[in-house]
Symmetry: none
Subunit: 224 residues, 4 copies
Amino acid sequence: MVKDDSFIANRVLPRSLKERQREERAELILQAAETVLAEKGYYDTSIDEIAARVGIAKGTVYLHFPSKEDLVVALFEREMVTFSATVEQAATQAVSARERLENILRQVYMGIHGCRAHLFLSLSNSMEVRSRLAEKKGAKGDYMASLTARIGAVMEEGKVAGEFDPDIPTAVMVSTFWGLLSPKAYDHLLKGAQLTPEELVSAVTRIYFCGVSTHSSFQRRAER
Amino acid sequence: MVKDDSFIANRVLPRSLKERQREERAELILQAAETVLAEKGYYDTSIDEIAARVGIAKGTVYLHFPSKEDLVVALFEREMVTFSATVEQAATQAVSARERLENILRQVYMGIHGCRAHLFLSLSNSMEVRSRLAEKKGAKGDYMASLTARIGAVMEEGKVAGEFDPDIPTAVMVSTFWGLLSPKAYDHLLKGAQLTPEELVSAVTRIYFCGVSTHSSFQRRAER
Amino acid sequence: MVKDDSFIANRVLPRSLKERQREERAELILQAAETVLAEKGYYDTSIDEIAARVGIAKGTVYLHFPSKEDLVVALFEREMVTFSATVEQAATQAVSARERLENILRQVYMGIHGCRAHLFLSLSNSMEVRSRLAEKKGAKGDYMASLTARIGAVMEEGKVAGEFDPDIPTAVMVSTFWGLLSPKAYDHLLKGAQLTPEELVSAVTRIYFCGVSTHSSFQRRAER
Amino acid sequence: MVKDDSFIANRVLPRSLKERQREERAELILQAAETVLAEKGYYDTSIDEIAARVGIAKGTVYLHFPSKEDLVVALFEREMVTFSATVEQAATQAVSARERLENILRQVYMGIHGCRAHLFLSLSNSMEVRSRLAEKKGAKGDYMASLTARIGAVMEEGKVAGEFDPDIPTAVMVSTFWGLLSPKAYDHLLKGAQLTPEELVSAVTRIYFCGVSTHSSFQRRAER
DNA sequence: GATGAATGAGAATTCATTCAT
DNA sequence: TATGAATGAATTCTCATTCAT
């Protein structure tokens, strides 16, 4: 019967509607938080300002996130999930280890998630926030660890496949790779306007995989 | 007149003594600030704690630095000067561009100024402090710019000398090089205990100059 | 017309149904409020929690009580009415003034209304609530005054009947009697587990009427 | 030498001067807190208001007491110490147990510490504050316990000496005695203006020791 | 009527900065 | 000059109350 149907609809849909609305609100808050956080950093970002940007009252923020810390943790986790997905996808699609890593770089530098990954990396760099969030949930550490492990695995595969120099410790390869994703380079990209993203990725990968040196296959002493 | 004489004496000789004492005091404060800042970050460091570490009163700090920000700016500049000297020295001593850069890396990772350079780099990375300091004085930016320029010059020289690939934009080379100095890698050094500083520098330079790829002289398409 | 009839029906019969339901609802809220208030005190009791205990929404509470204060005033008045009834009943049933007062004590300490009276007395003792409620309505004061007057009347009757010492000011007798009803003693009752309610009442009445001092061995009927 | 003396004086006295000033400040804050607390209760008393009453800034309060709770605990302890001393003194001076208890009553009702003891008793009655402070330091509980024990001891002595009825449980005697100290009666004292403190103490002791009942005309020395 | 999301005034607490001594 | 007590703006968080659905 129609009535029954609508009843079911009313039962099922509105519930998810409320949910949807709730999540949309939370998303708006997260977005505002993202912006302000990226602009001012953790300590100079006040809940008041986040609320003002969303156009809601202070208290409403607390309806969605129990504390400022939780808000940032949530933000961080959201970025982390996105970033993980990016890495995972990139790491799966390509054949060679190098191509996979290049994909990741490209995604981070150019992809839609570029700015998000950016903030995420900034946050994870921040000494100040790190310790604070560390207390909160082990979640972050877990995510980070698994991400690092994932990239490390790609490195190892590359070594096994003969693509990468097995003499370089994987840990160093991973660390250095993380360094390439740093916000630093990003700012001198469009802002300096001297380079297109493509050129940047191209140059960076060139350096990472082949080094900056010109080589007629030489240089083998490693230096103390 | 006696009074005048003593006045002059007080004016001339003790003046430089006072000056010296004053500077020593300032230096003590900077050192304490350095320690605490490295430990806790900008916002979790209070003037109170810095003063306590020096063993002076809060107010005395303000006799030397007009504000917390100014203190950090001063600290930053001091680190910057030290770092600049390190770079300058390294850049002059060696012959090849590569060796010069390697020297810098080695200094940063191992030298006495390691921890200082470290803090300095942390600060310069910190979103939070960056914006704050940016407002204060252009000094920082100037120093940074000149440092970057100095390293850029080395890069260019390397290119001219045929050491470095002239196709890679110097800006990217510099950015990437900065990335290598990031605190990130440092923490996985002794703390993970898996690597000695020497091994780390060795591996990092290996990557930067020769890339992670094994090469029988190939790979020339650069991607995208 | 049908419409009119149903209208009248809706006007007359369901009205009282609605009323009844409404009052039941209010009663449920009062009961929940009673519990939480007794548990946590005025300030640590939130409307949210009361609503949650009843299983209704926060807003619904406000359909019945215009404010938290009003809710507590209503609660207070309800307790007061109950308490008044207890006093009234006790004061009427017995012959001697002493027996009437003993009845009251016994009711308060043991009767069904024990816990209610308890809360009521707690509330009336609470400095915090007192001032708040004082502003609200004189109602409380009136009730209290009439209660005090009622007990005072019993005292006077006892004096007239030669039961009580006429030299003791009635006001002091009443005050002291109120003191016996204080929550203090109640907590050292079962919680300390050293005394049964009966023993407590017995001892307390013994003290109030005969004093703690030994005297030439008389008065030995006293308590139950 | 005079100079030396003054030097010593400067060395010794100023230190205690600072201390004295500090304590005076703390005392002023405690006094203000006492007033406001007695007036409005714990929750309706804001640090802001206390500070305003003293004529200092909010932050200054925190220079002396790390938190609102600590302030109240300190206040409580101060009252408690005073009260303990009163009890101790009263309990020691007199010969008979009865006289000792009467002394306590008299001190509480009339003495300089009357109002203080008053607040202290109010606070210790307040459900709301009790639990909060209980968490803070066991100090309060200890004080209370020892006070109760002290009074209990007097009761026991009275029983042994044949002054008090040994059939009445000491715990009940103590509880009831506490009840006599309640703020309740105090308010109907001067405010109602119908009774002098002396009369009040007289009547109350009369009741406590001899009961309200008339009995074959005995006991007529009782109260001072 | 019922709901519960949204509000925002208000409270505790911190800390850079000032200034009288 | 050195001190450190005092200040008060700013921040996080709570919760009674309102109101659109």
